[in-house]
């Protein structure tokens, strides 16, 4: 597999942070950074990462299956992750999540047929004081309401 120069630079930085003989240490960040570019943890990516870190594919697979951000199938272009944990729930996180599902006509961990949007109900995002909160990919959106979410989706739908 070939990666972009930016991703190679990032992976290089992670590998360089590992002490000699400890390259396995790079596994979790490598998988996440590579997933961002590839879109999902594909069998080819597992093979590539295991080759680079001198691990068996199984050693990589067992790690992939543990971490909730690592996924086997690509998410939508705009992956909307809505927190419904206690602090967000108290201020409307659940209603926000339900609204997003209705608005996009999809359920939890599903994507729209055009692949533009996907939704995931997530656990605490670390935005408890500014809830309800969500992330679109890695971008935070605080103090959300169903109306703000509608505007955000409209904004993301615009071709750019």
């Amino acid at each position: 597999m070939t990666f972009s120069p930016e991703l190679e630079a990032r992976l290089g930085r992670v590998i360089a942070s590992c002490p000699p003989g400890r390259a396995r240490s790079a596994l979790v960040p490598m998988l996440l950074y590579a997933q961002d570019e590839v879109g999902a943890i594909t069998p080819e990516l597992v093979a590539e990462v295991s080759r680079r870190l001198n691990l068996s594919p199984l050693q990589v697979e067992e790690v992939v299956s543990y971490y909730s951000m690592l996924r086997r199938k690509p998410a939508g272009k705009h992956h909307i992750q809505i927190c419904t944990n206690i602090s967000c729930m108290l201020v409307g996180g659940t209603e926000l999540f339900d609204h997003a599902c209705r608005r996009l006509g999809i359920g939890n961990q599903e994507a729209t047929p055009d692949g533009q949007f996907s939704i995931e109900e997530v656990e605490c995002l670390g935005a408890c004081s500014w809830g309800p909160a969500l992330q679109v990919n890695y971008d935070y959106h605080h103090d959300m309401t169903p109306e703000k979410l509608d505007r955000l989706i409209e904004e993301l739908e615009k071709p750019r």
Partner: protein, 436 residues
């Protein structure tokens, strides 16, 4: 831009640079006494540094409240192995959103705190383990580290003092359990985040089986001020065994939710009413989770107490990670308990049977209960099941899941009873049975 307005009641030690122009830059840091603590530490002995931290009565801000100086002192002196400093930036305890701000607005204070820790224990490298969702902070910390290295504050022979130290960020990829210290170390080594049995503790055998100082971001961020102004000055800000200030994260039903830096021992009711502007909509306070979702819930009448580790322990709860979740009279406590348990059932790593099975069954019981299909014997069953998890797991996760469940059932039994016999949840606006 800050996420919430500061409060005039705050005592700003760790957050003093929040809101300054380019507060995350090395220039701003250096212009505001940055690295002064490290300069002082460089002229001190290792024991001298650790003594200063001990004097400060700084206790771990991740949740357990273990004295930081004592922890540093456990790192063996004559071990031939390399030593490491690790910052736990896997902030994930529901209700907690403070480490994010420290890294965003003052990343160099984390760098300086870790540098001082490295000096104190003889480490040459450190890792900042940041949860994967905080990608912007990984990039921000990487830039700060590069800036500090270019400025000569990291790398070889820092300030000509013969001390080498370098720092690296390390991303998680979605796991609450990796905030537990031994699971974090496993993850840092490229494995599943399954906890290790202790002893040995990380101070003796941490990352790569080497002695490791592992603290929460906020703990490290307190260290520069402690070395700069002296441990005693920091200790004096708090209560006798709880030094300094801490960042409290007010969330839920308050008028002014936000992260506020307040002295240890600040009264909880005052925090809600004066710092947080009181309960939303003039409603009555029902309950507070005082330190993140793992902490037993307090009833409104139990909230007139000082927020320090010992007072909360005496009240049967914990100060935890500083996440203060405020619930007003309209909150259904069965629903709150069920949502919290859904989180634990989702995040249990599955290694220890009591935790894996216990959280899953508690989730089912509580969901069923909130759905109006609970039976009178379920109330006792929830408590019994949760109690059977206590102390029976490798890591504190099992207790962290069980303790809130026990507290919700014991303190709000009447609300559980109100859901019995197919009655609709009394707090749902529609008065309908809840679909689960």
């Amino acid at each position: 831009m800050l996420y919430n307005e500061p409060s005039p009641l705050e005592v700003k030690v760790l957050t003093r640079r929040f809101g300054l122009p380019n507060s995350a830059s090395l220039d701003t840091y250096l212009a505001t006494q940055g690295f002064e603590g490290f300069r002082k530490a460089l002229a001190m002995t290792r024991d001298g540094i650790i003594d200063e931290v001990k004097k400060s009565n700084l206790r771990g801000r991740g949740g357990a409240g273990f004295p930081a100086g004592l922890k540093w002192g456990f790192v063996p002196r004559n071990s031939p192995k390399p030593k490491y400093v690790v910052a736990n930036a896997d902030e994930g305890e529901p209700g907690t959103c403070k480490d994010r701000l420290l890294m965003e607005f003052d990343p160099h204070s984390l760098i300086e705190g870790m540098l001082i820790a490295g000096l104190a224990v003889g480490a040459k490298a450190g890792y900042i383990y940041i949860r994967g969702e905080y990608r912007y902070l990984i990039e921000l910390m990487d830039r700060a580290i590069d800036e500090a290295r270019a400025g000569g504050w990291l790398g070889r022979n820092i300030l000509g003092g013969g001390f080498d130290f370098d720092l690296y960020t390390h991303s998680g990829a979605g796991s609450y359990e990796c905030g537990e210290e031994s699971a974090l170390l496993e993850s840092l080594e490229g494995k599943r985040g399954v906890p290790r049995i202790r002893p040995p503790f990380p101070a003796v055998s941490g990352v790569f089986q080497c002695p490791t100082v592992l603290n929460n971001v906020e703990t490290f961020c307190a260290v520069p001020a402690i070395l700069r102004d002296g441990g005693a000055a920091f200790a004096d800000l708090g209560t006798p065994k709880n030094g300094g200030t801490r960042l409290f994260c007010l969330s839920g039903h308050v008028n002014r939710p936000g992260v506020y830096e307040l002295p240890m021992g600040f009264n909880l009711l005052r925090m809600i009413n004066e710092v947080g502007g009181g309960v939303r909509g003039g409603r009555k306070l029902k309950a507070v989770i005082p330190g993140g979702s793992s902490c037993p819930v307090l009833k409104a009448e139990e909230c007139d107490l000082p927020m320090d580790f010992d007072s909360l322990a005496k009240a049967g709860s914990m100060l935890g990670s500083g996440g203060v979740v405020v619930m007003d009279e309209t909150t259904c406590m069965v629903k709150a308990a069920a949502r919290i348990m859904r989180f634990y059932a989702h995040e249990s790593c599955g290694f220890c049977t009591p935790c894996r099975e216990g959280t899953a069954w508690l989730r089912k019981l509580l969901d069923r209960f909130h759905g109006g299909r609970g039976t009178p014997t379920d109330i006792a069953l929830i408590g019994d099941l949760a109690r059977s998890m206590l102390g029976r797991t490798f890591c504190p996760f099992g207790d962290a899941a069980a303790m809130p469940a026990i507290s919700f059932v014991e303190k709000f039994r009447h609300e559980f009873e109100a859901h019995l016999n197919g009655r609709p949840c009394p707090f749902e606006p529609t008065g309908q049975l809840v679909e689960v």
